[in-house]
């Protein structure tokens, strides 16, 4: 196996670019392979995994790099999603193009990040976690209740008919045929999301190796010592909240436009915990670990849904336990096992 890996990625006769070409081709044909082998639903699951990966990378800035435990991170995802929903749906009759909404969502979510960060600057650890948890709930409850006295968010009903991304007048959610291949909405979004994820990864790598990245690490390790090194901990922490939130905002916008529908119940506490699990299980602070964790946690519940029924039938003769509840039990068990066996994540920083 390692020999095969070396042949592709490190062998002397095959330069590094062979590896890159191989990865690029694999990523390009992946949705078609997935569709052919497992059906179109799985392309959608893949798309959601990409959105979650962006979200987890954003949270990784706050939790992994800067060490600030945020239990309300899904609020920024919600802010991004609703920003998109309000600017491109019949709700207010606005239909802004995607290239205008993405930067707006980035900035609005970033502002919310600072709003959360500013009052919590002096808090650490558990106390910070509790306040962020409250913040996440406040945002969700606001979204749930902002249908009166003026109707902004449509309350619990949510916002429907959100515009998809349109490139040169072509909607990405419709099916297109190019070169004899059928590109469904899920396929088209796959490439957009893949591009955004790669951009996010690039920015994260640059951030990690920057002065700011080192300042975050110093704060994570010892805030007082960081200050003694001359790091303005207030600004650096606010920047962590803002940057993390901005990534969450973009992911949220993508979610809204891909689904075509948002409602407050997509942004419950469990979602925050789920994203946090992705970061922690993959390996806090390690970009590749976080992506690995995200894909496992986004895909595992779906796999368990598909297999836990048939396996029971084959092994036990009939379905004893409802696959829907069983899959969450197995999922929880998997989390516990990973944390017991690899306490610093599947792919830790070192």
């Amino acid at each position: 196996m390692s020999k095969l890996f070396l042949m592709f990625f490190g062998g002397r006769k095959n330069p590094v670019w062979v590896g890159y070409v191989f990865i690029t081709v694999a990523l390009i044909i992946l949705p078609f392979l997935v569709e052919a082998s497992m059906g179109r639903t799985w392309v959608r699951i893949l798309d959601f995994a990409l959105i979650y990966a962006m979200l987890a990378l954003g949270l990784n800035i706050v939790v992994g790099f800067a060490g600030l435990l945020d239990l309300g991170y899904i609020a920024f995802y919600a802010v991004g999603a609703y920003t998109w929903a309000l600017l491109a749906s019949p709700q207010f009759g606005l239909h802004l193009p995607f290239w205008a909404i993405i930067p707006i969502g980035f900035v609005v979510a970033g502002i919310f990040g600072v709003l959360l960060g500013a009052p919590t600057l002096r808090l650490r650890g558990d106390y910070l976690a509790i306040v962020t948890l409250g913040f996440g709930e406040i945002v969700r409850i606001f979204l749930n209740n902002l249908d009166h006295p003026i109707n902004i968010t449509n309350g619990p009903v949510g916002i429907n008919l959100i515009d998809p991304i349109q490139i040169a007048g072509v909607s990405l959610t419709k099916s297109h045929e190019i070169l004899g291949l059928e590109f469904s909405g899920a396929h088209s979004y796959y490439y957009v999301l893949l591009f955004l994820l790669l951009a996010t990864v690039f920015v994260c790598i640059r951030l990690e190796n920057s002065r700011l990245g080192r300042a975050w690490v110093a704060i994570r390790e010892d805030e007082t010592a960081a200050q003694a090194m001359g790091i303005n901990t207030r600004n650096v922490k606010l920047l962590a909240f803002a940057m993390g939130a901005s990534f969450g905002g973009i992911a949220g916008g993508m979610f809204a436009s891909f689904q075509g529908f948002v409602s407050p119940e997509s942004f419950i506490l469990l979602e925050s915990i789920m994203v946090l699990c992705m970061v922690v299980l993959g390996g806090m602070g390690n970009i590749w670990g976080v992506i690995l964790g995200t894909f496992l946690l986004a895909i595992l519940p779906e796999v368990l849904r598909d297999v836990s029924g048939p396996i029971q039938e084959n092994v036990l003769g009939r379905v004893w336990l409802d696959p829907e509840s069983l899959r969450m039990v197995l999922f929880g068990l998997a989390l516990i096992l990973v944390m017991l066996l690899r306490p610093s994540g599947l792919w830790p920083k070192r």
Partner: protein, 235 residues
């Protein structure tokens, strides 16, 4: 001119007065020891000087009023603290710790040169440059913390109990290092419980008791003072 000057300096935690009107000064190039028993207010005083806790009173550094400046702003002015309990970045390597100390230095060549200086001063750290700081011994961590502070090229180094929890042999070594730093024109304010050693290496000393300075003067005189001998040297 004094490098650091405190006048009627007070620190209180709620109603509890930890430092009750202290005046002291440190001149360029000096090593000044601040000694006193547990709970005398030494660490509170040091933390307040660094802007880590709130205080009242006047404080001047290099002749300028530095009231209400934050710790990171003071670091930019050249006032660096080695915190009590060392506070190294435990999950970073020795080398990364040192580089973090040079956060405010932009000149890469200067950083590299200074790092080599640190490795010359602390050969032990060079041997362990790629090791995670949390796995170092207490004495090595203390050396790393001092080296990290020096990477920022401070004018005044505040050392909070550098000998705390170290083996006697290591304590001697740390004080030799302090001597070495002092000869490279860095001024040092040293807070210590090990009064004898601190006064042997310092030029002047202040004795702190119950939040107040009760005695001050050249080290030689303090070392021979009967009340100091009785209270801190166990005679």
């Amino acid at each position: 001119m004094n490098l650091l000057r405190l006048n009627n300096f007070k620190v209180a935690y709620g109603g509890i007065k930890a430092v009750k009107g202290v005046s002291l000064s440190v001149d360029f190039g000096e090593v000044v020891a601040l000694i006193g028993s547990n709970g005398a207010g030494k660490t509170s005083l040091l933390k307040a000087i660094c802007g880590l806790v709130d205080y009242q009173g006047q404080i001047e550094f290099k002749g300028e009023n530095i009231n209400k400046l934050r710790c990171d702003q003071l670091a930019k002015l050249g006032l660096s603290m080695v915190p009590e309990g060392r506070g190294v970045f435990t999950r970073l390597t020795v080398e990364e710790n040192l580089l973090m100390g040079a956060f405010l230095v932009n000149d890469k060549k200067d950083i590299a040169k200074n790092k080599e200086n640190m490795f010359r001063m602390f050969p032990r750290l060079e041997e362990r440059r790629a090791q995670i700081a949390g796995t170092l011994s207490g004495g090595e961590q203390q050396m790393l913390a001092i080296g990290r502070s020096l990477m920022g090229r401070p004018d005044l180094l505040l050392l909070d109990e550098p000998s705390m929890g170290l083996a006697p042999l290591m304590v001697e070594k740390i004080f030799e290092v302090i001597n070495q730093i002092s000869s490279s024109k860095v001024t040092i304010l040293l807070v210590e419980q090990n009064a004898k050693l601190a006064l042997e290496y310092a030029s002047r000393g202040y004795v702190m008791n119950n939040g107040e300075i009760t005695l001050e003067g050249p080290s030689g005189i303090l070392l021979n003072d009967s009340s100091v001998r009785k209270a801190y040297l166990g005679e």
